[in-house]
């Protein structure tokens, strides 16, 4: 009898401990939300004061802001995700009554949700395609197109690769276009380069291990458009009349939707080759996992290494614009949505673009983007 009671008591204690842990975990969450909103409100008032001091023109009364309620769903590009996450954090700090969710499944997925009227705000690391906007039109959904930043796409190899420092567009084409399907050595591309009439140098005889983003990625689309299509259309000085070029990327390489997996692949082989967004490439270079190659637009042209400066000035030739699409009907009916986009386009909100590793638009573009939003101009304002 004694032992049974003792066992019961012990079991009770264990169960209670576990229960306490459970509730502690849940209770904690609530505590933090409160603590968050507590610290947030101080941060918020600080954030509110700052722009008010700097720019009295863009005022938003504090009481009105904190009374704002509603919920906002944002989805789309994983590249744009960190920018919007940071903006959402700051916005939520100033507006604790608003529930925001931000997701980054991919530009195309975001476009599908946006054009089905599921979300008021869609992000993309490329402009929405005509085919995607046809769905919007079919569903009677209008869109405001805002350009919000620049992202360079870096061409990378292993940090241990000393044989290559710079590649030209035609060399990239000879290594990565569909015509290069089956090439498993860098030198395999030399015959193709000669046939293309390229004067870029010979590539070394070394195993070619390619890692890059998959087809669902905006980085894949942009890279194909900017590099492979430019070469195919003769924009880089090759005679596109003389022979037929393809406009697509070869299918036989290791692809991943997770950029860090691409970086790991690049680091795993001394003679690897691939491409990834600049923010990831820069981190990988600092960690000693990858080397950022210089890129020359034309054969024999200047070899430019991507840096925030060369990307912003467009000297580095592989850069793309980041976009946000807003549903004007939803922005009108839900003041929380409009207030969030207002914050995104404010000077304080725009600081997030560089804070997470991307590059600001040129001033003229920035002003155009702000006026497109302020005047709710629908249709393709930038990508048309």
């Amino acid at each position: 009898m004694h032992t049974t009671n003792f066992r019961r008591a012990r079991l009770l204690v264990i169960l209670l401990t576990v229960f306490a842990l459970f509730t502690a975990a849940c209770g904690d969450d609530d505590d933090t939300t409160e603590a968050d909103s507590g610290s947030d409100s101080t941060a918020a008032s600080a954030a509110e004061e700052e722009p008010a001091e700097e720019e009295p023109a863009e005022e938003e009364p504090a009481e009105e802001e904190s009374a704002l309620e509603g919920s906002i769903a944002v989805s789309g590009s994983s590249t744009v995700f960190p920018i919007v996450q940071k903006q959402a954090e700051e916005f939520a700090a100033a507006n604790p009554g608003v529930a925001i969710s931000v997701d980054g499944p991919g530009s195309g997925d975001g476009a599908a949700l946006f054009c089905d009227g599921e979300i008021p705000i869609g992000n993309a690391s490329r402009a929405y395609k005509d085919s995607e906007l046809e769905t919007c039109a079919a569903n009677g959904i209008e869109f405001i197109e805002i350009r919000r930043g620049i992202d360079g796409i870096s061409v990378i190899t292993s940090a241990n690769n000393n044989a290559v420092e710079c590649v030209s567009f035609s060399q990239i084409y000879a290594l990565l276009s569909e015509e290069a399907t089956g090439f498993d050595s860098w030198a395999d591309a030399n015959a193709l380069l000669a046939e293309m009439g390229s004067t870029a140098g010979e590539l070394p005889d070394a195993s070619l291990d390619i890692f890059g983003p998959g087809e669902e990625s905006g980085t894949f689309d942009s890279f194909g458009e900017i590099v492979i299509e430019a070469v195919a259309k003769g924009k880089t000085g090759l005679d596109s009349e003389a022979r037929e070029f393809v406009q697509t990327i070869r299918p036989d390489y290791t692809s991943s939707g997770n950029d860090n997996v691409i970086i790991e692949g690049i680091a795993s082989s001394d003679t690897s080759f691939g491409w990834v967004g600049f923010a990831f490439a820069k981190e990988a270079e600092e960690a000693g996992e990858a080397k950022l190659l210089g890129v020359a637009y034309e054969d024999g042209g200047d070899c430019v290494v991507p840096t925030p400066e060369t990307i912003a000035s467009a000297e580095f030739p592989i850069a793309r614009f980041l976009y946000t699409y807003v549903n004007p009907a939803m922005a009108e009916s839900d003041p929380a949505v409009a207030a969030f986009v207002d914050y995104m386009m404010s000077d304080a909100g725009l600081e997030s673009v560089t804070a997470v590793g991307y590059i600001d638009l040129a001033e003229a573009d920035q002003e155009l983007a702000q006026s497109v939003w302020a005047n709710r101009i629908t249709g393709r304002s930038f990508s048309g």
């Binding site: 066992r7 079991l11 264990i14 169960l15 576990v18 842990l21 459970f22 975990a25 849940c26 904690d28 969450d29 505590d31 933090t32 939300t33 968050d36 309620e69 509603g70 919920s71 769903a73 994983s78 995700f81 960190p82 996450q85 940071k86 959402a88 954090e89 939520a92 507006n95 604790p96 009554g97 608003v98 529930a99 925001i100 969710s101 931000v102 997701d103 980054g104 499944p105 997770n258 950029d259 860090n260 967004g277 923010a279 990831f280 820069k282 981190e283 960690a287 997470v356 590793g357």
Partner: protein, 304 residues
């Protein structure tokens, strides 16, 4: 214990008479060692990766939400989501155990019964992403009015369906393992079928049933693919939403936190992924512990 059963190692052995037996013993010892090494390697990897976080701010890590500043980011929302999911997945246990009782105790051995059994077995082997698609079609889209769309309810119900076949199979195995003499004895004393099941079969099968339910909760806690399809959010705030609205609003879970951390550019986030994995391991371990204690208790009570 050793005294009452035959112990093969007590036999006198002719040297070299049992070579193949000894080779087999060596192989299975290696298999056990390999299993231990693998589990140890996973654990070591997670502990080592999360060392910076777990030694400096583990408490902060489990009590704050995912924010963009890596020094403040945590997994509180993920823990909360995973606990809610575990709570809702438990709803599938009565259904699963009920189905197992029907299949083992009531159903006659007809071709429909066999068809159902084969189907349940096959369902247990269906990849989890397929359940994610089912959840997307049924809970997120068709039942949007009830679940709120991409919500923790949709995610948890999807996982509840995912573990249902596992619960049915393990419960059925446990019920089948109850000796027929238990039933015969109960019937002999005049018990009805329901009384026999309630007082003899289910209590005797309970340890096995518990094992199955624990495995299925661990499985549900670790799944990321169905939640990705159902639409777990990378980042969210709850605003002024009350509990019910939060249940129907944006959500995340620990595996989603881990996936989000591994996609961040800065290397520091890999430590977060490891620390979140550690939290998940500890959570699963705690739940297992509760069930193991419960199982031992029931087994002891039955043994008396």
């Amino acid at each position: 214990m050793r005294g009452d059963v035959f112990d093969p190692s007590s036999l006198q052995k002719q040297p070299g008479a049992d070579r193949s037996g000894q080779a087999f013993f060596g192989l299975i010892s290696l298999a056990v060692l390999a299993a231990f090494v693998m589990v140890g390697a996973v654990f070591w990897d997670v502990v080592q990766g999360s060392w910076d976080i777990s030694t400096s701010r583990m408490w902060g890590f489990v009590s704050t939400s995912f924010v963009s500043n890596p020094d403040e980011a945590g997994v509180a929302q993920g823990i909360r989501g995973s606990l809610i999911i575990a709570g809702i997945v438990i709803l599938s246990f009565p259904i699963g155990i009920g189905a197992a009782v029907y299949l083992e105790e009531y159903a006659t051995d007809s071709w429909t019964t066999r068809l159902i059994q084969v189907t349940v077995r096959n369902l247990a082997g269906v990849p989890s992403i397929v359940y994610g698609l089912l959840g997307l079609a049924v809970f997120v889209q068709t039942l949007k009015g009830l679940t709120g769309g991409d919500s923790v309810i949709s995610g948890a119900l999807t996982l509840a369906i995912l573990v249902l076949p596992i619960v049915i199979i393990t419960s059925a195995e446990a019920i089948r393992a109850v000796p027929g003499s238990y039933r015969d004895g109960a019937y002999g004393l005049g018990a009805t079928q329901w009384e026999t099941i309630r007082t003899q079969v289910l209590p005797a099968a309970m340890p096995g049933i518990l094992t199955g339910t624990v495995l299925s909760i661990a499985r549900a806690l670790g799944e990321a693919a169905p939640l990705l399809v159902v639409g777990a959010a990378g980042y969210y705030t709850t605003g002024n939403n009350d509990f019910l609205e939060q249940m129907r609003g944006a959500f995340t879970a620990l595996p989603m936190n881990i996936a989000t951390f591994t996609k961040e550019p800065a290397a520091i986030w890999r430590g977060h992924a490891a620390a979140a994995s550690l939290v998940l391991l500890v959570l699963v371990f705690l739940i297992n512990l509760v069930a193991i204690i419960g199982r031992a208790r029931i087994a002891k009570r039955l043994g008396r």
